[in-house]
């Protein structure tokens, strides 16, 4: 019996080793994992930094919004709790700066009017074809859920540890790294026409030119206006854009976990009490 057991264990162990070695071999081709950054919204008690979200929003408005849409967001989200923390009056002013196509009017024509808080962010291009036409055939993706649409392979055993560390910031780590990841094209690399070498972009040939340079966007709160801060601020803003309910989710999650843990304790002791009537059981 024990020889069968040890044979089985040896078999299982050798399979595991083989699988691991196999996994490691393919990952060793390139390790482009973005560095893990510190985010205020990471972890069980994470919350957004209002100042960071407002700076990120400024970057979006002045830089990114020229090509990328945010069409699933309404202006009024900017005033909701757990967000950048603008006041309703500020949101109305922001919305009014945008021109929204509305209609048809009674004459049957579409017309433009200033935005209202209930409106969604208008996209910079009328449709995908117009966007491609203005960008050399490439389509700048809408960024409403972009922070959740990007990730990178963690590999074994990291993806197991991630369950315990609650690592859900792959998207923003990737995006911040990408924005800082432009490099000179290495010798011998076949760069397609019009593309730019980026260390973190899969395949390294990124259509988007480096969008941010130091000092480009004016920070009025004293934060250094360098690429490091720009990339993290815009990534944090995009995380909020993708997950506006993050703070409520984690707050309610904490309350639920406490409740369930206490409830489990009560259930456990009740179970023991009930079963104490049965001989042979605790």
């Amino acid at each position: 019996m024990s020889s069968i057991r040890s044979k089985a264990l040896t078999l299982a162990a050798s399979m595991a080793v083989a699988l691991l070695a196999c996994g490691a071999a393919t990952a060793a081709e390139e390790d482009n994992s973005p560095p893990r950054l510190r985010w205020s919204f990471a972890g069980p008690f994470g919350h957004y930094d209002e100042g960071q979200l407002q700076r990120g929003f400024k970057i979006y408005r002045e830089v990114c919004g020229n090509c990328h849409g945010l069409k699933l967001l309404s202006f009024r989200y900017l005033a909701e709790p757990g967000g950048p923390g603008f006041t309703p009056a500020q949101v109305a002013a922001i919305a009014a700066q945008y021109k929204i196509t509305d209609g048809p009017n009674d004459q049957g024509e579409m017309f433009e009017r200033p935005g209202r808080p209930a409106d969604r962010f208008p996209s910079p291009f009328a449709n995908d074809q117009a966007a491609r036409n203005a960008n050399g055939g490439l389509l700048p993706p809408d960024m409403s859920v972009l922070a959740k649409a990007r990730t990178f392979e963690r590999g074994f055993p990291w993806f197991v540890f991630d369950v315990f560390t609650q690592y859900q910031e792959q998207g923003v780590d990737y995006m911040a790294a990408l924005l800082k990841g432009y490099e000179d094209t290495p010798k011998g690399f076949a760069m397609p026409e019009g593309a730019h070498y980026n260390k973190y972009f899969p395949g390294h040939a990124l259509g988007m030119p480096p969008p941010l340079t130091a000092g480009q966007v004016d920070y009025t709160d004293g934060t250094p206006a360098d690429l490091q801060h720009y990339s993290q601020d815009i990534a944090a803003f995009l995380m909020w854009a993708a997950e506006p309910k993050l703070e409520a989710r984690k707050r309610i999650g904490f309350q639920v976990m406490i409740f369930l843990i206490v409830f489990a304790g009560l259930m456990y002791f009740t179970k023991k009490k009930v079963w104490s009537a049965v001989a042979g059981h605790a």
Binding site: M15, C22, K148, T151, Q166, A242, G253, V278, A279, G280
Partner: protein, 422 residues
């Protein structure tokens, strides 16, 4: 169902109702007085957990359905509207998505329990087969549900899986365009998947009722695999099994809540937050984790038709386990050789799952073929042979003996629930 209706209506109203629709005595005999083996361990709590998970999925699903639009131009955005504008929509969506994963996790544990303790053996064959039917319905439901958000993975998973039917000789292509409602996955496909995704959980509910009925006719198995010999070896379902099930349910919900509130997108795929684009294929098309072992088996076979056949066989073969396993001993507790192979099988399933997440290239293909072969060898060769060749450990004479040991203290009348008579 097991004929233990000891309920006597007391109030005038209950007497009136019982004479017309004896629903309360049914509930009483099935879930209150129902005799349960006293030695069940925590692996037996997953049936109750699964029932609750089905209820949670149905309730969250129905509310989500009030806000979802099943049209290719609106589906993705309607899900985002749920996440942003519907009160607690984000909670409903994450509970429903993580709930599907938890549902499958509980189902697999529940099935492995059955395989370990021989719960599929006579007279529980029909119970087991009903379970396999539930699994098939769950797989179909989960697949169609994943298509509904109409992300990149939704669309391409639908394309890959529906294309499998083209492997059917002669009529394959016609079957596929009939399923699609067109010449590719499109709006008709999404619409009908929505309809069926709403329907199938209620079919599952019906089969679950049959499953519980079949269980109550023959009674529960228990860790020894030996039938209870007297009333002293059973306890009434309420309060004993109820409280044990309830405790384990709360523990399960802690795990569930961990994913819903802190890791809501961990079990999903980032590509599904990209709206479906028929012109762009994702780098790696992968299903959700609970389908990965079957996906690995499908890709391991070089032939398209045979791959599809083996994919189906991998699930359907479960229905034959009561006859493939020739052992006259039920529980692996007394089958030391089978126990080793059981755990190897568990590792094989996990290995297949991991391989299903990898691209079908290089060494991964070889490993997937080896593990696929083992998967079928386990059912077709090992199970039949083990029953004939294995020397099981001596069985205890009864449950009582296994619990208290031979010649142990006399059994206190634990079966007498604190029920007042009269």
């Amino acid at each position: 169902m097991s004929g233990h209706s000891t309920y006597q209506p007391q109030s005038a109203f209950m007497k009136w109702l019982e004479a017309r629709l004896p629903i309360w005595s049914l509930v009483h005999s099935s879930f209150i007085a129902y005799p349960t083996p006293r030695n069940l361990n925590y692996w037996w709590t997953f049936g109750g957990i699964l029932t609750v998970m089905l209820a949670i999925q149905i309730v969250t699903g129905i509310v989500l359905a009030m806000h979802y639009t099943p049209h290719v131009d609106y589906a993705f955005n309607s899900v985002e509207t749920i996440m942003r504008d519907v009160n607690y929509g984000w909670l409903l969506r994450y509970v429903h998505a993580a709930g599907a994963s938890m549902f499958f996790l509980a189902a697999y544990i529940h099935m492995f329990r059955g395989l370990y303790y021989g719960s599929y053996k006579a007279p529980r064959e029909v119970l087991w087969i009903l379970g396999v039917i539930i699994l098939l319905l769950m797989i179909a439901t989960g697949f169609m549900g994943y298509v509904l958000p109409w992300g990149q993975m939704s669309f391409w998973a639908a394309t890959v899986i529906t294309n499998l039917f083209s492997a059917i000789p002669v009529v394959g292509d016609s079957v596929v365009s009939w399923l699609w409602g067109g010449y590719s996955v499109g709006n008709p496909t999404l619409n009908r998947f929505y309809s069926l995704h709403y329907l199938l959980p209620f079919v599952i509910l019906g089969v679950v009722v049959l499953h519980i009925w079949a269980l109550h006719v023959v009674g529960q198995n228990n860790p020894t695999g030996i039938d209870p010999k007297s009333d002293r070896e059973t306890v009434p379902f309420t309060p004993y099994a109820t409280i044990k099930d309830g405790f384990m349910m709360v523990c399960f919900f802690i795990l569930f809540a961990w994913f819903v509130f802190y890791l809501p997108n961990y079990l999903g795929h980032a590509d599904n937050y990209i709206p479906a684009n028929p012109a762009v294929t994702p780098t790696h098309i992968v299903p959700e984790w609970y389908y990965l072992p079957f996906y690995a088996i499908l890709r391991a076979i070089p032939s398209k038709l045979l791959g599809v056949v083996m994919l189906g066989a991998a699930i359907v073969i479960l229905a034959f386990v009561p006859w493939l396993d020739t052992s006259r001993v039920r529980s692996a507790t007394y089958r030391p050789l089978y126990r080793q192979f059981f755990w190897i099988f568990v590792v094989v399933c996990i290995g297949l799952g991991w391989l299903g997440s990898k691209p079908a290239e290089g060494n991964y293909v070889l490993y997937a073929r080896v593990l696929t072969a083992w998967y079928f060898i386990h059912f077709l060769i090992i199970l039949p042979l083990l029953g004939l060749l294995e020397r099981p450990k001596p069985l205890p004479a009864s449950i009582t003996e296994s619990v208290l040991g031979k010649g142990g203290a006399p059994v206190a009348s634990g079966a007498a629930a604190p029920e007042r008579r009269g």
